[in-house]
Symmetry: C2
Subunit: 408 residues, 2 copies
């Protein structure tokens, strides 16, 4: 097998951790596999560098920020290569430019456009280990770029695709994806397998284990991702294309996100283009609107309700204060104590009545549903934040995800 | 004027120092000059990185060492570029690869082979400031290389030559080259000007202000170096080609070096190849032999005396212990309390009797000369270390270098 492994900041966060990480790589080589490695900066290093930049300037240019923070991964890559050499393994560090990680020129949030890594394949074929800096690349002018927080996952998947790896192992400090947050539901189970589509829903709902873009990329090229723990070398969760095996469960998991605020603008005169009048100014302020619900028009007026990240609540309310009169609406109101709860599963496609069952479970528990939005493999409701744990526990049990119910 | 400025680690050692350095650059731009900058790593940073490497491995590979420590300059270059931008100056950082600093593939001690910096000239012509990492480059395979300690001086001179600068300003924490060490001779004077040849002698005698290779390179391409202080913006010492003005003084300065040890191997059978039999094993141990004196052969035997850096005294003595019997010598002895004192000056070429005057001055002071070696512009004697201050003061005065004697 040819494997690309990605290690996050904690896995290279100290000399001791680097030694453990090198041992994992050694183990994989001893099993006869070819291994390329992608590393993040040592934990804390990126923040140290950003603090230096902020001491210099309140708003440093993004080109120089990227040149600065990209050094973090170069340090960890060199150190890990040294430790692999200690173990008698031929290893070589490569920074973004050296690894052929080509990106567009959007500093701080660049996107990978191409990976020119034929020279890395030569190393792999000799069972040597290229250690590549994650999170970074070069644009076509040779400027150093970074991919934004969590970008190392995307680097790893892109490299795996480029070197035609069989799997991309993402080592992290959790051992996989769970059916829901075990802190809320102790009976939550680790999933052996999850589809790319489901993983995307989990990721977009705040499961911070994988960067959304890395999953999108893996899905497009059908590159399996093995999400696993660097502390405990048991199998984690395999993120792959949907297969028959996955069909058996109606839903795969229950996700939630407390980072939500809800805003309603009332009795707006309803005419074509009203939505863009409301959301244009919000988008211009760089605020991402999530769930949107528009009531049926009554007497030429309508209400529009939408959610934003809680940190954007205050600026959004300010924008609404200005818009209400301008648009001829009667009033606006907000609530920053709401949360989202979702049930996710490719099984929904072949099982009718999932939404109805979800609403019924919540009604039984006395949880009022404020907003509803659905996709083919997900149903999301907005509820009062105080009901989150109750709702998650009830849904997890009702859909047969509790550990006991599965072992029966 | 087009100027390449080089700033050492202390000049970029803190946010405060970076701000001061940016101000100096701004001043130069305001005088209508074009400025490119070469920076070292923040002081302490290279050692911090080396300590990390040594924690990982007792003997890390030099390829990875270079990849590791090269990040130091990338950090300081990015931070200085940010600060220049704060001042409204268009500035861009470039690492070794980006600046086109091509080197051979000898990691840790690479030599610059070419500088492909046409893109930097475009910036200069627009009065924008390229901030280039010193000390590093890339070999033809794209591997990151470093030039060895002090290599940033060489980077700066090479860049100055490549962009056809008028002068290479080396900013440091001293304000120039002195006729001798002011700690020994308070009447020592700063030299306004010194020839490349003289600077080379000063550098090789332990004046640590300029890396020898940078002076050699500047001499070859006739690139004037202005050695000056970043703390006090007065003119420093200009290192240039020899001119008529320099002819007036017989000697330019008095140098000394305490880092010396002397070893004698006695009554070796004198036959062709004896020197290589003695010095071959020393060179193989990586020890640099400096002054060598071989006595006139008497009855088929000769004595060979030579000096080595004091830190190499013990290993050299060990080698001699092994060689003495092997070569049929009668004995060997060593002395690690010797020092070198030199008088240097292009004026020697046109002034006879400098050596004789030097020996006379030392004799008058009761200083016994143990070894003598000369070049066209330098006379060096090895003496007992305890006489160093006495010898330096006497020679400085005798050759008319004391401040008063010159102002008469």
């Amino acid at each position: 097998m040819r494997i690309v492994q990605k290690y996050g900041g904690t896995s290279v966060g100290s000399v001791e951790r680097i030694r453990k990480t090198a041992k994992i790589i050694q183990g994989e080589l001893e099993r006869g596999n070819q291994v390329a490695v992608v590393v993040s900066a040592m934990s804390g290093e990126t923040n140290r560098l950003l603090a230096l930049a902020n001491e210099i300037s309140e708003s440093p240019t993004s080109r120089e920020l990227d040149a600065l923070v990209a050094t973090g991964e170069q340090v960890s890559a060199a150190l890990l290569a040294m430790e692999l050499q200690n173990l008698g393994i031929k290893a070589y560090s490569f920074n973004g430019a050296q690894a052929g990680m080509k990106t567009d020129g959007r500093f701080v949030r660049a996107r990978i456009t191409d990976v020119k890594s034929d020279h890395l394949i030569e190393h792999l074929e000799r069972f040597e280990v290229p250690v590549v800096t994650g999170f970074q690349g070069v644009d076509e002018l040779g400027n150093i770029t970074t991919l934004g927080r969590g970008g190392s996952d995307t680097s790893a998947v892109a490299l795996a695709i480029a070197v035609k790896a069989d799997v991309c192992d993402i080592y992290t400090d959790v051992d996989g994806i769970y059916t829901t947050d075990p802190r809320i539901v102790p009976k939550a189970q680790k999933m052996d397998q999850i589809s790319f589509e489901e993983m995307l829903e989990f990721a977009s709902l705040g499961a911070k284990v994988l960067q959304t873009r890395s999953v999108e990329l893996a899905m497009r090229y059908n590159m399996p991702i093995h999400l696993r723990s660097s502390f405990d070398l048991v199998p984690g969760t395999m993120v792959t294309i949907e297969d028959e095996k996955m069909e058996r469960a109606t839903i795969s998991g229950v996700a939630y996100n407390r980072d939500e605020a809800k805003i309603t603008i009332m009795e707006i005169p309803d005419h074509p283009g009203i939505a863009s009048n409301v959301f244009g100014p919000v988008a211009e302020a760089g605020i991402n609107v999530d769930v949107i619900v528009q009531n049926v028009s009554e007497e030429g007026h309508t209400d529009i309700t939408f959610t934003v990240p809680r940190s954007d609540y205050a600026p959004t309310m300010k924008i609404m204060a200005g818009l209400t009169e301008e648009l001829g609406a009667s009033n606006f109101k907000g609530d920053d104590t709401v949360a989202k709860v979702s049930v996710i599963g490719v099984g929904m496609r072949s099982h009718a009545g999932v939404a109805q069952k979800m609403f019924q479970v919540l009604a039984t528990e006395g949880v009022n549903i404020q907003m509803i939005t659905t996709s083919e493999i997900k149903i999301t409701v907005v509820i009062e934040e105080k009901y989150v744990e109750l709702a998650v526990r009830a849904l997890h049990a009702a859909f047969g995800l509790d550990k006991e119910s599965n072992t029966i």
